[in-house]
């Protein structure tokens, strides 16, 4: 199953099980989404459950908040994470706070799905990774699946979660894992074990990371597309690295991270988002606090450069395996 199919399957399961689940967004209804994640769902569940909206991300999220407060469970799509900004006020000032400011009278069980990250020549407005803009906001949970199995389980868990969840879908992984070499042959999920998605209902708990490769020399923290790019770098380098797929950025599975870094004494963090004030900074802050006496070298970040995501220079911007490998070697030098 591709990640697109896995996500669709998750929504299908949720729509089937719970009549209060509704799915909407731009081009999400009749057409089934520009990435086809909701294809067939309107036909199956009718227009009252799955529908098209005007091009107003703030109105989509704002209306969804009203529905969620009433008792429904909206799962809405923002067509690209780059277009969530008009909804940022509703997401951060409203959805994130309803429960707290009303002392629990009103709650906001809402999922906002959005394709994130680069690697598809989308330029600066189809490539952004805004996760740090969500992790800074109390009241939100932030999830980034890296494979179809997780995508389905995490999305079902997100829809059932009593609080607002930002669900960032790495679009470069929609159709297959991507190891960072765009000149290589594209791989499909069919040929990857993690594309083997269980039928029916299951949940993958929010807040649990996964060690995707065990190793003793250095810990690599990654999420989304970068999990594969990191794995490729590890493979290329022959370094005995431990790779952790964070899966949920908030709440963060600090335990798994700390256990690993205490073992390896070294840490490299990888993300596509711009470096300064990216989520990598928060990871460093937590890791240096918890593992200070185990650290043998400064923690390294491999991130998107602090510039708008360029179109033609995409592969110079994208944190590829070579850059990660260099960082691995650097932290191992000492």
């Amino acid at each position: 199953m591709t990640m697109i199919e896995a996500l669709r399957d998750a929504m299908d399961v949720a729509l089937e099980r719970d009549p209060s689940v509704v799915v909407f967004g731009e081009d999400v209804g009749y057409f089934g989404g520009v990435f086809r994640c909701t294809a067939g769902l309107q036909e199956k569940y009718g227009e009252e459950r799955v529908f098209d909206t005007p091009i107003s991300e703030s109105a989509i999220v704002g209306a969804a908040i009203g529905m969620a407060a009433h008792g429904m469970r909206p799962c809405v799509e923002v067509q690209f994470a780059d277009y969530m900004y008009p909804a940022y006020d509703q997401i951060t000032q409203e959805a994130a706070r309803l429960r707290h400011r009303s002392n629990g009278q009103f709650t906001c069980p809402l999922v906002i799905r959005m394709p994130t990250g680069g690697g598809i020549y989308g330029g600066q407005t189809h490539s952004q990774s805004p996760e740090a803009l969500f992790t800074h906001v109390a009241g939100l949970k932030t999830v980034v699946p890296s494979n179809p199995q997780d995508a389905k389980g995490l999305l079902i868990a997100a829809i059932e979660d009593p609080d607002p969840v930002i669900f960032l879908e790495p679009k470069r992984l929609y159709n297959g894992p991507f190891h960072g070499d765009h000149t290589g042959k594209s791989v499909s999920w069919a040929s990857d074990a993690r594309g083997d998605v269980r039928e029916g209902y299951y949940k993958t708990p929010l807040g649990k990371a996964r060690v995707t490769r065990e190793g003793a020399a250095v810990t690599v923290l990654a999420y989304g597309t970068m999990v594969y790019v990191a794995e490729a770098a590890v493979q290329n380098s022959g370094i005995d690295a431990e790779v952790i797929d964070l899966r949920t950025l908030l709440p963060l599975d600090l335990e798994t991270i700390v256990t690993s870094v205490e073992k390896t004494g070294r840490c490299v963090i990888v993300h596509e988002a711009t470096k300064t004030s990216g989520f990598g900074a928060e990871l460093i802050a937590e890791v240096q606090e918890a593992c200070f006496y185990h650290l043998e070298a400064p923690i390294e970040r491999v991130c998107g450069w602090d510039a708008p995501y360029p179109h033609a220079q995409e592969w110079d911007y994208f944190p590829g395996p070579d850059r990660i490998e260099r960082a691995l070697r650097k932290v191992l030098e000492v």
């Binding site: 703030s58 704002g62 908040i65 009203g66 409203e94 400011r101 629990g104 009103f106 709650t107």
Partner: protein, 412 residues
Amino acid sequence: MTDRKVKLTYPHPPARPGEDPDFSGITIPEAGLLDVPPLDLDARGSRPYANGLIRVLDDDGNAVGPWAEYLGEDTETLMRRGLRDMLRMRAIDRRMMTAQRQGKTSFYMQCTGEEAVGCAFQRQMEPGDMNFPTYRQQTLLVAADYPLEMMFGQFYSNDLDPLNGRQLPVLHSARDFGFFTISGNLGTQYVQAVGWAMANALSGDRKIATAWIGDGATASNDFHGALLMASVYQPPVILNVVNNQWAISTYTGVATGKARTYAARMRGYGIPSLRVDGNDFLAVAAVARWARRRMREGFGPVGVEWFTYRVAAHSSSDDPSAYRPKDDGAAWPLGDPIERLKTHMIAKGLWSEERHAQAQAQILDEVTQVQKRVEAHGTLVNPPPTNPADIFKDVYAEMPDHLRRQRQEMGY
């Protein structure tokens, strides 16, 4: 080189401090002129209502015209309750402002002059309907018989505060009283109300949502988003604009631009819209009743501009004498809502000046008693209010580890 033909315009209020109040620019049609349109009124048909002004009480306090007939059987009870609600609201405002001035809380906002809007409106709603109010619709709570203990509890942020001290004194939340949690960010709730109403329709619960916004905040993005969503999906929502002519120091002209009325702007979205004298208790009640009935029949959203005047300062932090004439409010040509209803009830033989004075004193006394009882539980500044560790509650349904660690760090 400059072309003096092409110049920007800057809307101005008719008068500034030092000048006399001037409302000569405001056209006030006679009371009773506009008829009651059919419940399935469409945007096109609503033109005269959007550009005109629905009024029931004329200048002599008589209830005139077709809307006067629309109030239902028991107008006497309606009016008695309304008068009591409005007097109570004014007493609350008075008591709270004094206490704020005494430093017993941080902040307060009055709704003086605008009491009729929420008080008359709320009594036409049904149990389970949800208002999405701004900070100036405490009237909706009062007319929903919200316990004053809770209102004052929040005012003092003490142990009677239903929101545990988390919110500003005026930003109430009362789900059981049809009152959505108010946001400090203007406009955001207008579109949430539309979403709630969509849920009303989807769940078939026969309830409705009502959205509230000030004239100034119609500039907000969510005003636009709400009108659009309401126009597209046609949920049962009443879209209220309270045009009290001011947004802090900014004249309403800066929010209208060259638009005729806010109702006309809403009509542009294809939403039938009406403009109503918001200081006329009976007009408000009649139009609210009509709108609620329209919702019940599934004829879709309606926009209402309540035309009124912000008599008091914007908030306890504001001093209007810096930007508008003194006693501006007293010169408002549509008068004071309490005075107008009183005059009408006296004319109908239902009320008298004496009973009014008596009622006023009695209500003020009741409110003061409650206030004292609540104040005995402590004020914002003395003694310290709610539990600090409460900060971490309700950020999420279940407290995640990082918050647990922070709570420990705090010492709890």
